[in-house]
């Protein structure tokens, strides 16, 4: 594939992921902000509705998922922005590996620090919202698939809006309608698990959406970045 370069695609992928993780961990406060936002948003719902734990449980899947959606969107804005601002994005575009490898590596690294972190924190939030512990595996699986898909939808949106001032509101405007099926299936899966029926159907659809998005979104995000770079 890369005839001219000594460095293979996998090696390049790993190097870029290391770069991204290195950069993220050098700013731990920025790393934690989306997680804190996730916790804050989930707190808003009980405060706004003043419900008891047993009643909260009915709303819990939806609340959890809306909070996850919003906090993922918050963090995806910075996927390409910092590199575009200081000129390193151009250097990456010219490294000989092709933009797609770069996009895949950056998005995966971003998911690791945002989506995966969210999944790990979700039992805490789930307990606060009254979700029974038996449901946690379904909840976490649905969140894993969902945040992965969301990172990719966000990557497309970020690629399209990276050059714009105040692009982050527009980013949300673009990505949220595309993410609505995710919300439906994700919350639906957890909901069915809580009520005792099988969540398998919803999980399968969620997985299908995830695979579909992860396969096609890299190309869309690459095109989006090319449009921006030009």
């Amino acid at each position: 594939m890369n005839v001219g370069s000594q460095v293979g695609s996998i090696e390049a992928f790993t190097l870029i992921v290391r770069r991204e993780l290195c950069l993220s961990f050098r700013r731990p406060d920025q790393l934690l902000q989306p997680l804190v936002f996730f916790l804050i948003v989930t707190t808003l719902f009980p405060l706004g509705l003043s419900l008891q734990l047993s009643l909260l449980r009915d709303m819990a899947p939806g609340v959890l998922w809306v909070a996850a959606l919003l906090s993922s969107l918050l963090s995806v804005d910075s996927l390409f922005k910092s590199d575009a601002d200081d000129g390193t994005l151009e250097q990456l575009a010219l490294c000989g590996q092709g933009l797609t490898v770069i996009v895949v590596a950056k998005t995966f690294a971003h998911w690791l620090v945002s989506g995966a972190a969210l999944v790990l924190v979700s039992p805490v939030v789930g307990t606060a919202l009254g979700i029974p512990t038996g449901v946690f595996p379904t909840m976490m699986l649905s969140l894993t698939l969902g945040t992965l898909t969301l990172s990719w939808l966000g990557a497309i949106g970020a690629g399209l809006t990276v050059g714009l001032k105040r692009g982050n509101v527009l980013l949300s405007l673009i990505v949220l309608p595309l993410a609505m099926p995710l919300l439906i299936f994700g919350a639906g899966a957890t909901d069915r698990a809580i009520s005792g029926s099988s969540a398998a159907g919803a999980l399968y659809f969620l997985a299908a959406l995830c695979v579909f998005t992860c396969t096609l979104a890299p190309f869309a995000a690459t095109v989006a970045l090319r449009i921006t770079l030009e």
Binding site: M1, N2, V3, G4, S5, Q6, V7, A12, L15, I16, R18, R19, C22, L23, R26, R27, S82, D86, G87, T88, E90, Q91, L92, A93, L94, C95, G96, Q97, G98, L229, E230
Partner: protein
């Protein structure tokens, strides 16, 4: 903006692009890189269009934009490692040697945001050196450099071109480099 520009560059040649502000010097450089697609016209490398040999072309070039393009949170050495490491396998020793050649060996383990503008420019130059590319595309490489830095850049350019490489340099003043130098003056 740019119309009717035609150029050919061979090994051991340096093309100096100059002209007043706003005439499209940076645009031209970016078109040659492949970052910008021209509405009409073609850029070819070794006889083939760059879009068809993208990977090989990019492996053979090193581009320095007007900004030094460094991540503020990474050290100079890490910046080099993550940039050059995507093009070819390098050891930390090699990268430190490059930093030594451009006079910023002491900055190797400092985060780029604490470096001065001149030091950053030298780190960017070290990046170009480490890439071991045959084609150098430099946009205003003398910005923020003192007299010593300017001389250093000139010397490195000279040895690169004499050693068989080619270079396209955008600069608004004269270059004191003793090689086969062509000049392209862009006008309004």
């Amino acid at each position: 903006m740019l119309k009717g520009v035609s150029l050919t560059l061979r090994p051991r040649q340096l093309l100096h692009i100059s002209g007043p502000n706003g005439t499209g010097k940076t645009t031209l450089l970016r078109v040659v890189c492949g970052l910008l697609r021209p509405e009409q016209g073609l850029v070819s490398w070794l006889g083939q269009s760059i879009s068809s040999v993208r990977a090989e072309y990019q492996a053979a070039l090193a581009y320095a934009s007007h900004e030094p393009a460094l991540k503020g949170d990474l050290t100079a050495l890490e910046n080099l490692r993550f940039a050059v490491g995507l093009k070819r396998r390098v050891t930390a020793g090699e990268l430190r040697a490059s930093l030594e050649k451009t006079g910023v060996a002491g900055c190797a383990d400092l985060p780029a945001r604490v470096l001065s503008a001149g030091q950053r420019r030298r780190v960017a130059l070290a990046r170009i050196l480490s890439m071991k590319a045959s084609l150098w595309l430099l946009d205003e490489p003398f910005t923020n450099l003192d007299a010593a830095g300017t001389d250093l850049t000139g010397a490195l350019l000279q040895s690169h071109v004499e050693g068989g490489g080619a270079a396209l340099v955008v600069a608004h003043h004269d270059l004191k480099v003793d090689v086969d130098m062509r000049r392209l003056e862009l006008g309004l």
